[in-house]
């Protein structure tokens, strides 16, 4: 319970700090503040995928439907967060480089993540028998996660032969973040991760209650 209140204060503080501190990248102006929102949201999207995969493995091992519910909930949250990441990224791209979409590595990775989530939900909606749906989607989640390392390595290398644009800005922000910005950034990541954990737990409990109500 305490950590939930802590989350409330933490993120309120983060929001205030994001807007009261001078903009992180002076050349870009105010739009660079979105960095404090965009990166943590993208990070949580990947974290959600990881949680879904772990729960899928646990389901296949132990065959308890709980894990499937947890995987589904993580996937739902993850897709929401990746859409947010995509939109904020597009806003940033439009303001910085003039176009909404460029097919550069980071944008493509988030797009692929959304495709994977979409495929996962498509698979789930195609199977009606509960147990079979759970095992099939668990297998798919694990399979999809296996491709992630390839995406991380393949896309940047192939893209570099075309045009390196975003990597410049990202490395600048990461390695040259002075202390106050670094602090706000880390708190933002922590805050969003805590939101994810909180809503994830809530969804699982709600699912359990739904099931118990249906049994009666």
């Amino acid at each position: 319970m305490i950590w939930k209140i802590f989350t409330g204060f933490l993120l309120s503080g983060v929001i205030i700090a994001i807007f009261l501190l001078p903009a992180p990248q002076k050349e870009l102006g105010d739009v660079s503040r979105i960095f404090f929102f965009h990166v943590p949201v993208a990070w949580v999207a990947v974290l959600a995928f990881f949680v879904a995969m772990v729960n899928s493995i646990l389901f296949l091992r132990k065959n308890e439907i709980v894990y499937d519910i947890q995987a589904l909930s993580a996937a739902r949250l993850g897709s929401l967060f990746s859409i947010l990441a995509l939109v904020t990224g597009m806003i940033f791209a439009k303001n910085t480089w003039g176009s909404y979409w460029n097919w550069d590595p980071r944008e493509t990775s988030v797009f692929i993540l959304i495709l994977i989530y979409g495929a996962y939900f498509a698979l789930r909606s195609a199977v009606e028998i509960e147990e079979r749906r759970a095992s099939l989607s668990a297998v798919y989640a694990i399979l999809a996660f296996l491709t992630v390392p390839f995406l991380v390595f393949v896309i940047p290398r192939v893209y570099q032969s075309l045009h390196p644009v975003e990597s410049v800005i990202d490395t600048k922000l990461k390695f040259q973040l002075p202390l106050p910005y670094l602090l706000v950034f880390l708190c933002s990541i922590l805050g969003f991760s805590l939101i994810f954990v909180w809503v994830h737990k809530l969804e699982i409990l709600l699912c359990k209650f739904d099931k118990d109500a249906k049994k009666e």
Partner: protein, 35 residues
Amino acid sequence: MSSNFVVMIVSLIVWLGIFFYLLRLDKKIKDLKRR
């Protein structure tokens, strides 16, 4: 009132709205648990 300030207040309101909504959901679940 710079636009920065306005956006900050709006995002604070949005966040606090979400936050208290989540707390309310929490309480509902605790009540359901007791029953």
